[in-house]
């Protein structure tokens, strides 16, 4: 499962694309929990959004691993 990192997510993971093991993650909520466990700094930015196939994804959305997934963290600069 490929996950694209935007903004701060790139800084937290050190990568612009994450390659995740599909088996541990089958919903958006599980993906969020996985990310927080793997990179505890995500805990601080809990409000990050997950986009699946270029659309906002609710927590209960089921993932099969072939989607285009992106982490969209909040940003405040101006």
């Amino acid at each position: 499962m490929k996950v694209f990192c935007f903004g701060m997510a790139k800084d937290i993971t050190g990568l612009s694309t994450l390659d995740l093991d599909n088996e541990s993650v089958s919903t958006v909520e599980e993906l969020k929990n996985y990310l927080i466990a793997a990179y505890p700094e995500f805990e601080k930015y809990k409000s990050f959004m997950i986009a699946v196939n270029q659309s906002y994804a609710n927590n209960d959305l089921v993932l099969n691993g072939t989607e285009e997934i992106a982490i969209i963290p909040p940003v405040s600069g101006g």
Binding site: F48, M49, Q54, Y56, V75, S76, G78
Partner: protein, 356 residues
């Protein structure tokens, strides 16, 4: 006649024409924050002939702003909104400019934003973004959202006209004070200009009712890869916004409540106070030999181990220290703790004044 007019080259465009130009000339736009995003957006909207532009910013330009806020020089003593207002008057005297030299807050927002056709939210302050968002959603005022981080930026149009129109809370439900600012992580100047202009573009298209707006969409742009993605959003936040607005103070670094002290008071009674800087390590400047430095995360410890004098905490401009002090006084009720108004810049200013 059109051929020689100021707006002739845009009137020639089918989507604008004379009807569109009249719409632009009759429009009123508010720009909250006249920094990297707001200043460029304001200049281009003024160029296009927006009838009336309200500029809101209480900040004065700083030399570290200028690489991305190219309409200032960093030596000014007036507010960004005042200076930008003058630039607009020179660029296009037909635009009526309204200047507000205070930061937007819950007390003045009603007077400043009610009745405008569209608002551009261009601040770098997370609580201001939620204040403007919530107010505009409640009052059905269209809002163009913009935000940047390093090389990336977001833009969206929150139309606030129909029940299902998405706004900021549908994307990021709660403000997150942990989000670092440009001064902490750095910012690429081009992204500020690009996102600011994209905000102006969304505003103009909305006013003209042409093209496809970013309503219910979030555009992301990244400079290093030149990649742009448009994400579809949906309504999923259904809390009673009016109730939340009533209960929320929307205070943050720029308007936290904390006791402040003037630079003159500190300098003239220097030995009465313990002075601690919370500027980022690389930027820290000591006022004198006795100035201490502390990491913000370690400030509680720094205070506990200090001599029992009143404490003055400063940062570069007095905004971060204000929010630090506002937190500290809650857990240290018996200590006298002040934030230095205007920060290190105010110390420098006062010193150079007394040297004259």
């Amino acid at each position: 006649m059109i051929i020689d007019s100021r707006y002739s080259r845009q009137i020639l465009l089918n989507e604008i024409g004379e009807t569109g130009q009249t719409k632009i000339n009759k429009s009123q736009v508010a720009i909250v924050g006249c920094g990297g995003l707001g200043a460029i957006a304001a200049m281009y909207l003024a160029g296009a002939g927006i009838g009336s532009i309200i500029l809101i910013d209480g900040d004065t330009p700083d030399i570290t702003n200028i690489h991305r806020q190219v309409f200032y020089n960093g030596n000014e003593t007036h507010s960004k909104s005042q200076i930008l207002g003058q630039k607009i008057n020179t660029l296009n005297p037909e635009v009526n400019v309204v200047i507000e030299s205070n930061f937007l807050d819950k007390n003045n927002i009603d007077d400043l934003l009610t009745g405008v056709d569209i608002v551009l939210e261009c601040t770098d302050d997370i609580m201001s973004k939620y204040l403007v968002n919530d107010f505009c959603a409640i009052e059905n005022i269209p809002l163009v959202y913009g935000a940047i981080y390093k090389y990336e930026g977001y833009v969206s149009l929150f139309r606030n006209q129909e029940e299902n129109d998405v706004h900021l809370r549908d994307i990021f439900p709660e403000p997150n004070p942990e989000i670092p600012t440009c001064s902490e992580v750095g910012v690429y100047n081009i992204i500020a200009g690009l996102i600011g202009l994209m905000q102006a573009n969304e505003a103009l298209k909305y006013l003209l009712r042409v093209g496809e707006g970013l309503a219910n969409k979030l555009l992301t742009y990244e400079c290093l890869s030149s990649k742009q993605i448009v994400l579809n959003l949906k309504k999923n936040w259904n809390v009673d916004l009016e109730d939340l607005y009533e209960k929320t103070l929307y205070t943050s670094a720029s308007c936290a409540s904390a006791p402040e002290i003037m630079a003159s008071q500190l300098i003239n009674n220097r030995s009465d106070y313990l002075l601690i800087s919370v500027m980022p390590k690389g930027e820290h400047q000591a006022y004198d030999e006795k100035t201490k430095w502390s990491e913000i995360s370690d400030i509680e410890n720094s205070i506990k181990s200090s001599e029992p004098k009143p404490i003055v905490i400063y940062c570069r401009r007095g905004r971060v220290s204000k929010s630090v002090v506002s937190d500290l006084i809650k857990s240290n009720a018996r200590r006298k703790i002040f934030s230095l108004e205007g920060g290190y810049k105010a110390l420098q200013k006062y010193q150079s004044k007394s040297a004259d």
